[in-house]
């Protein structure tokens, strides 16, 4: 029997007992539907987190700090070293700890490490307000690492790190209060940023809005390029240039061509020199692990539904083999090999699996897309950019493939039974 004929026969046999096939397909449908949805949730949330990670920093940067001395209990206090013991309070360490500051000499050392392309200190600036066209002033903050981040833009362009012009990426929540009619309207406008120096005098710095970003879950505040940060920092220092010669944190760019192993080796290199380096992925690894865990549990439920459906397939096909005993016997009497009979019944199982999973996936995509749109307007409007259900063609294809595999495995037992049938026993009627 040709493969084409086997497939055609399997398909037409599947529809012979319509009610039974429909019920079995329904059981698979439930599993495939759930699995498609849970996968989509995982993909949607992952994509959102990835976008947030982008807002926090590029994938090719280390956040570098001095490694903190681990003083074991009983060792007593560490001796003061005038060259290296300056401490700076930093947001990067665990809460309530201080990390030692990085000096210019440290920056040179880090920059000279093989694999590091460039290193920039992070200067934190604390502006007071932002205003546009002498309108109402609003409280305002700048994300210190924004120069190395990729903002989730709704309008305009990313910051240009090499530009001499002071550039700003405005959070979209500021667009309407500042008096812009739309995000696009804000792009290109010049805004004033107010800042108080360390002596208490107020200054304003002008900046051009180059882009408008969605509010990010993990990095708050506006984005500013190096030129703007330098201007603000100068204003903040009040002309006292010696005020900042050490930094809590530096951002080191590494070669984007490095493999994951090479990055790990580079981290170890920096660690032996006394620096602690971590990538954005390291810092967000925990978040992603939790999300993957939740999606994994949801997927497990869907797979349980599929296993239940698998027994449905076994049952359906066993009944089918029973009912078609004579037909099988006849086909074998007419020279059909056991292998072909086995293939025929396996194909019937796969057809049932395909029907259930394809319909399940299609309905999940249809319903899910609608639900996702509704949620984005309502319940999840506080998380702009979150597309809670993201249907990736590859993962949908994977679900369909998986269900067909489960169906094939379920069909093994009935198909074997059919293949082993003795034609004489099957055709006996006396």
């Amino acid at each position: 029997m040709r493969t084409k004929d086997l497939v055609a026969t399997a398909i037409s046999n599947t529809f012979r007992s319509k009610l039974r096939t429909t019920l079995t397909v329904l059981a698979i449908f439930v599993g495939a539907f759930t699995l498609t949805l849970t996968n989509a949730v995982g993909a949607g949330v992952s994509q959102y987190v990835d976008a947030q990670v982008g807002a926090l920093g590029s994938p090719d940067v280390f956040i570098v700090t001095q490694a903190s001395d681990e003083t074991a209990a009983g060792d007593g206090p560490v001796k003061y070293d005038p060259n290296g013991s300056a401490s700076v309070s930093s947001q990067q360490g665990p809460p309530g700890t201080t990390t030692k500051a990085l000096t210019e000499a440290d920056l040179t050392t880090i920059g000279d490490t093989a694999g590091i392309v460039s290193v920039d200190p992070i200067r934190s600036v604390l502006p007071d307000y932002i205003e546009y066209d002498s309108g109402t002033a609003y409280e305002f903050s700048i994300n210190a690492t924004s120069a190395v981040t990729t903002a989730d833009l709704t309008a305009g362009a990313q910051l240009d790190g090499s530009a001499t012009q002071a550039q700003l990426v405005l959070p979209d929540t500021y667009v309407t209060p500042l008096g812009f009619s739309s995000a696009a309207d804000a792009v290109g406008a010049s805004v004033s940023i107010g800042i108080t120096d360390i002596l208490g005098a107020a200054h304003t710095v002008d900046a051009t809005v180059v882009g408008v970003s969605l509010e990010s879950l993990l990095a708050s505040g506006a984005g500013a390029n190096d030129a703007l940060i330098a201007e603000l920092a100068d204003a903040q220092s009040g002309g006292i240039t010696t005020a900042v010669t050490s930094y809590g944190v530096a951002v080191a760019h590494f070669d984007t061509a490095l493999s994951a192993d090479a990055i790990t080796a580079l981290k170890a290199d920096l660690a032996t020199q006394g620096y602690s380096a971590s990538t954005i992925e390291d810092q967000l690894g925990a978040v992603q692990t939790v999300i993957n865990g939740i999606v994994g549990v949801l997927n497990a439920f869907a797979v349980i539904a599929l296993i239940a459906a698998a027994f449905g397939i076994i049952n359906t096909l066993l009944m089918s083999v029973q009912e078609r005993t004579r037909e099988i016997g006849l086909m074998k009497a007419m020279g059909m090999s056991g292998g072909k009979v086995y293939t025929l019944f396996s194909l019937e199982a796969i057809v049932i699996g395909f029907l259930g999973s394809a319909i399940g996936a299609a309905v999940a995509i249809g319903l899910g897309s609608a639900l996702s749109a509704v949620l984005a307007q309502g319940l999840l409007s506080g998380l702009p950019g979150l597309n809670i259900l993201l249907f990736e063609p590859a993962s949908v294809a994977f679900v369909i493939g998986l269900v067909m595999l489960i169906a094939f495995l379920s069909g093994t037992l009935p198909a074997q039974r059919a293949a082993k049938q003795n034609p004489i026993e099957s055709l006996r009627y006396e």
Binding site: M1, R2, D5, T9, S12, R16, R326, E327, G329, L330, M331, A333, M334, G335, M336, S337, K340, P423, I424, L427, Y429, E430
Partner: protein
């Protein structure tokens, strides 16, 4: 000389079950069937006549004895070769029709060709040819379940005939039909034998049908009790006492 016989069986034995429930269906049966012959295997229910047919048709293997088909020992044939032999050289007609319901008459008829792996177009052509021969061409598209008993058995004969077999094995071909339609079906079978030289092996307990065959093999309790050659007709009943006395 052996190759001249289509089928040559020597000392076939077959039993089912074991111990107390052991049942010896055949206890040493030797039969030769020549090409173009019509042979009736006659016996009561449980006499072993169906078992003998199953062995001759290579649907089952004997416990003892040898079976040669066209000069080749059946035991030496691979499973694949046996399947191919049944598919290409044998046709089967059973008392019950075993037609696939909800499938068209044509599709039922061409099932052996489908199993043989013949292409779709050629299958249809052969199938329609056979249906025309059996005057069923107008029913080709109908579902098998909508036909009358006689029409169904003609479809079954079409299915047995479609692969142009050398031998047709018929197990009680008229058992399910009334006398008139039964006669029509018999006429078709014997006509096939005459015009195409197809060997007929008919298992039956119907003496009239048996009498139309060239040769009658009477089976009782797993043994051949009488192997008679006769020209068609009258004396079928007269032979029974000979069988009974054995």
């Amino acid at each position: 000389m052996d190759s001249e016989w289509v089928i040559d069986a020597q000392g076939l034995e077959k039993s089912y079950g074991s111990g107390a429930s052991r049942f010896d269906a055949l206890k040493g049966v030797s039969v030769q069937i020549a090409p173009g012959e019509t042979v009736a295997i006659i016996g009561k229910s449980g006499s072993g006549k169906s078992t003998l047919m199953h062995l001759l048709a290579l649907l089952d293997e004997p416990d003892q004895g040898t079976l040669q088909v066209a000069g080749r020992d059946a035991k030496s044939l691979s499973k694949r070769a046996v399947n191919e032999l049944r598919n290409k050289e044998f046709g089967f007609v059973f008392q019950q029709f075993f037609l696939t319901p909800n499938v068209s008459v044509l599709d039922n008829v061409i099932l052996p060709l489908k199993i043989a792996g013949m292409g779709g177009k050629e299958r249809r052509r052969r199938g329609m040819e056979v249906l025309e021969q059996l005057e069923l061409a107008d029913k080709a598209g109908n579902k098998a379940t909508t036909l009358s008993g006689g029409q169904k058995q003609r479809v079954v004969i079409g299915r047995a005939l479609v692969n142009a077999p050398r031998v047709i094995f018929a197990d009680e071909p008229t058992g399910n039909l009334d006398t008139a339609t039964g006669t029509v079906v018999e006429d078709i079978l014997f006509e096939l034998n005459r015009s195409q030289g197809i060997t007929l092996v008919i298992v039956t307990h119907d003496e009239e049908l048996a009498a139309r065959c060239d040769r009658q093999i009477y089976i009782r309790d797993g043994l051949v009790v009488s192997n008679t050659t006769q020209t068609h007709a009258t004396g079928a009943h007269a032979l029974i006492p000979a069988g009974g006395a054995a």
